[in-house]
């Protein structure tokens, strides 16, 4: 069992590498398709940067050669250098800004997953009674209101709260302390939490009416134990399978939250890079994000195997 599990992980990793290669290729050719020579427009490009870039990317050579150079650089873990900032490497940018996004994202994922499982289970148990109605109403709101509106409203709320107390209870924007992270993480996780709540609810409803829960009742197992031992574990399984895509949603959703709350994360930097058309940073960040997401999906898959014995055996 052990060794087959390692083979499974290895297989997924090889698949993952191929996927990252595909992402890198798509990125390269998408950016190569940009009309006009990106180096020819005068967007804050100094001669020094220009010379650097030409040497580094072989921009005077044919496309396929450039593609080869690009892949070679990627293999060495080099994501390139900035177009607009002299001597700034994309790796440095990611090193500086990604931890911020990661902390925010992890908090949001924890918030979303814990909340989704809890509320989902609750609504299923109280099906068609008032806790169900109240929570599902909020969930529908959470799904229907765009994250930037939620972000704006929560900022407005913070301004009013701070105004009410006359001091800064929670900072409205910026980064630094745990207090700075709290509200943005909640806003970021809210949409995913609503989605997971719905998923958990329907999964839980299916489990509640399943044959094996009926068996447990026929055995005389008390409701609390049925919930803990029979319902929760089985109902969580579908939630875990969508955790990978959810992480992706939260990661990119971070762009807006970082923008609105003025958080110096990679998402905000990416949006800036796009606005300045800093091509190499855009490419580097995209490939980095893509690789990160592929990796997260693999992690979730392996995690799933540990929880579901049926999948574990297939390793």
């Amino acid at each position: 069992m052990r060794s087959t599990m390692w083979i499974f992980i290895l297989k997924r990793l090889v698949q993952g590498i191929f996927t990252v290669w595909f992402i890198a290729t798509a990125t390269f050719f998408a950016m190569h398709n940009v009309p006009g020579d990106p180096l020819l427009n005068d967007r804050a490009t100094t001669d020094a940067i220009r010379a650097n870039l030409e040497a580094k990317y072989g921009l005077d050579k044919p496309v396929m050669t450039q593609y080869g150079i690009y892949l070679g650089n990627l293999l060495q873990g080099d994501l390139g250098i900035s177009f607009t900032q002299e001597n700034r490497e994309v790796n440095d940018i990611i090193r500086d800004h990604f931890p911020v996004s990661a902390i925010l994202g992890i908090l949001a994922v924890i918030f979303a997953a814990a909340g989704g499982v809890l509320w989902g289970a609750l609504t299923a148990i109280y099906r068609n009674r008032w806790p169900d109605y109240v929570i599902m109403f909020l969930v529908i709101l959470g799904i229907s209101v765009p994250s930037f509106v939620v972000a704006a409203i929560s900022q407005l709320f913070l301004v009013n709260v701070n105004g009410l107390f006359g001091t800064t209870v929670l900072p409205v924007a910026g980064w630094g302390t745990v207090l700075h992270m709290l509200v943005p993480a909640m806003v970021l996780g809210l949409g995913t939490m609503a989605y997971l709540t719905r998923l958990m609810r329907s999964s839980m409803l299916e489990i509640i009416s399943s044959d094996f829960v009926r068996t447990a009742k026929a055995k005389g197992v008390p409701p609390a134990r049925i919930f803990a031992k029979h319902q929760l574990r089985n109902a969580i399984l579908p939630v875990i399978t969508v955790l990978g895509p959810s992480i992706a949603a939260i990661t990119t959703g971070g762009f807006v939250v970082e923008l609105v709350f003025a958080i110096p994360g990679l998402g905000r930097y990416f949006v800036q890079a796009v606005q300045q058309l800093d091509y190499t940073v855009i490419m580097g960040t995209t490939v980095f994000y893509g690789a990160f997401l592929v990796f997260m999906v693999i992690v979730v898959d392996v995690l799933y195997g540990f929880i579901d014995p049926r999948v574990r055996m297939e390793y």
Partner: protein, 454 residues
Amino acid sequence: MTELLSADFRPLEAGQEIHGISRPSQSYWQDAWARLKTNKRALASLYLVIGLILFTVAGPWVWSVDPAQQDLDQISRPPGSERSALIVADYAPWDTEGLRFGEGLTLVGEATTQSVRLKWDALPGANGHRVYRNIFPVGPERSYGIPRAEFFDNSVVTFEDRLDLKVLTYYYVLVPLGPRGELLDNYEVIEVDVHRVTTVLEAIDQGLIEESSNLQIGDALNLDWHPLGTDYLGRDMLARLMAGARVSLFIGIGAPFLFVLFGVIYGSIAGFVGGRVDQLMMRFADFVVALPFLLFMILFKISFGIGPGESGVFPMLVAMVVLMWPATSRLVRGQILQIREQGYIHASQLLGAPRRYLILRHMIPNTLGVVLVTITFAIPSAIFTEAFLSFIGMGVAPPTPSWGSMSNEGIKTMLTTPHELIFPALFISITVLAFNLLGDGLRDALDARMRNQE
């Protein structure tokens, strides 16, 4: 118990109607429609969707205001705000001769959108003054607002503000300056209610009155009516919301139809042909799924490039189709593989049904429900994507309005004129809500497993 007659024991006749044996059978779609009709939420959202489409398509006939036209007299006006304006004389420079002082910071004359005139007495310890204008009271954090003027001379004790005055309550703050121009701790504040005025010339200029009309100074005049107010450039919100709806719904409904169509074709081919082709096609779909969606939307937008005067709607549509089809294709392929193994297909084949009949009679009707539900759920996500991209400035290019880009513009003035954010956000939310609830209802209604349950 009543007496039983021997007639009661006669045998039943063939064909005689038997009480309480069965209920009328319904076709799949009849049944689905009946179930949808009992679902109040789904029905309400269906009406809502129809209403939204009417708003988008028929709205511009009813409210034929040009969404690009700027009403400079009414900038960032919330709905239902006062729109009468007093006719005043043309602006004349302020003659400060003969003003009497000694009353502290006071307003001279009426505060109008033409000008606000202030006078004051030099504050204790002042070497000069700075005047701020704010739309909020100063508060404990001592936010003064935007600096409007600075005088390094105690002899200047008057200030006339003519900058972009709106019909608001302003707080003018007077702060004394120290010897080196630093702000001193004390300050004086005055609350000023600004009234709207206009001149005859301006009114004629904007077509509010005829040139021949005989209006006198002191008469009142009604400005253009904007039922939902105006935005930061004085454009009519209702007209812009309608124009924005066209863009948002075009992308929101058009893109899902296109990529679901593509997904259905791709998925059916893979499902039908099967074998190595299927493997290859699905592996490719896996790759596309792995692309970080929003990043590639942005990437494609850059890569397409948007020339001057283009709205960017078309590139966004293409990018969505390119990136969003795999989910549908997987679903349809799965359905087809599943249906192909069903007993009724084998039975039909045994009876000699041609391939075309199998596809038309069994495959398509049995996948249609799933596809319909997929489209319904794809619409809100497409609308969200458009809004998200436009919000971070990567969507449709200004001046083309969309609900997302309107929200983007509105969020900047969220604190002072929230209606500029609230209206587009509300439209996005209601549309997404309606399609989500409709999707839920459709799924429940079309899911055959749900029949005879609950």
